[in-house]
Symmetry: C2
Subunit: 232 residues, 2 copies
DNA sequence: CCCCATTTGTTCGTATGTATG
DNA sequence: TCATACATACGAACAAATGGG
């Protein structure tokens, strides 16, 4: 009885055959049991698997719906891997930083050309808000996330938006294992975001690339300092 | 009783608290029930969720182990999203191609400098094998995948290796919905891979960037032709 | 080879929590 | 308040796979 993968595949087939779109309602568990020929428990476990992948979405007392297939699964898996490796040398965290930097640098030309005046103004507002928060000694996680999401907005590529958000979340989950952040690093990082804004306002792709690279220097330094406590 | 996320979090906590590494054996389902205070059904569903994310790995009749945390979940989620959107305009497939190209172009300098003679020789062998297969009219999926994985090898970044493999798999799953591939496209793509090899052998980062970009032209053309059948 | 213990896989029945009308 | 429909949770039983004596 290899119901395990069969049932999940059967449900995915059902979605494809009926041309269901994200948000559409799926049959009840009982009807799914009949459709794929399995018991409620097996269907439940299959639904649980698909739910973890955000292929379906379950709302208690309401029903099961086709999911929006977000990258929440990627976040959870990568974040946990990062937490595990944080006990050693924070290898995963460094790799995530590399990938984030490469994405933002690679699309610098399209970003520098594509940002409209409204998006540029919002970027400046976010960077200014980060500087103000740093002055008060507060962190600015949500501002930082919005900044990087907004930066990729002109690409019109939803996958890149989601990857940007996903890798940002992984980094924000794993970074605290490095230790406390100093206010000096907060202020510095805020100013580096403003430098990105100014390069974007100048439509200077090369300057944008270097500003993005410089923006990741503090986190790289922090990772390196933890790997060799002698320099700390 | 919102055991749902509690139990999964409890199991993840157990792994972190006991400093378990990928491949280590977890307690039996019965012991996990006692450890987190839930019924076997609930524990099983939580394990199923973690299994979908490759955080744990279950072997029938043997036990439950800490997983490798691969990006299989990302592949399954993205591939299904691509299959759903394939009924419309293949939006997701185009986005995946954009991301793949950006990654390979962005790391072109490190790749051009970092490839050793053995890796270059293997790249040439793979590209030659693709050309031979195209001559016979055969496809060369596995050769193509190995090619792109090998290209990223000198970076020494495991996350990039896995992302490369994951996006490659998504593309290979979704692409067949575009229609049959012509032998002409196969031969052309094979020669474009050889052009990448030659740019890498010359240690020419700029040439490598353009060769990588050109390599994605056929698939972009195929997507565009399906979106407007009038030009086909 | 068979037998047996261990462990996960599948199914069913029942009771409870939740949202809609 | 009540009724209905649904997902959630638990416990028990049996099936299937693995490994060792």
């Amino acid at each position: 009885m290899l119901r395990r993968n069969e049932v999940a595949a059967g449900i995915k087939d059902y979605i494809l055959r009926h041309h269901l779109k994200p948000g559409d309602l799926l049959p009840t568990e009982a009807e799914l049991c009949e459709a794929v020929g399995a018991s409620r428990s097996s269907v439940r476990e299959a639904v649980k698997t698909l739910s973890a992948l955000d292929i379906v979405e379950v709302r208690h007392g309401h029903g099961t719906y086709v999911g929006r297939m977000s990258l929440a699964a990627l976040v959870e898996s990568l974040a946990f891997r990062g937490l595990l490796s944080s006990e050693d040398d924070h290898l995963v965290l460094g790799e995530v930083v590399d990938v984030r930097q490469n994405i933002e640098q690679g699309f610098a030309p399209q970003v520098a050309q594509g940002l409209d005046t409204d998006q540029l103004a919002r970027l400046r507002t976010l960077a200014a808000g980060m500087a103000e928060a740093a002055e008060r000694g507060d962190d600015y996680l949500e501002l930082d996330k919005q900044f990087h999401l907004l930066l990729m907005e002109p690409l019109g590529n939803d996958l890149i938006q989601q990857l940007t958000g996903a890798f940002w979340e992984v980094q924000s989950i794993v970074t605290p294992t490095l230790g406390s952040e100093h206010q000096g690093a907060l202020t510095l990082t805020a100013s580096l975001h403003m430098a990105i804004v100014e390069a974007a306002e100048a439509r200077d792709a090369a300057a944008l690339r270097t500003a993005v690279a410089a923006h990741y220097d503090p986190i790289r330094e922090l990772i390196a300092s933890v790997r060799r406590p002698s320099t700390a």
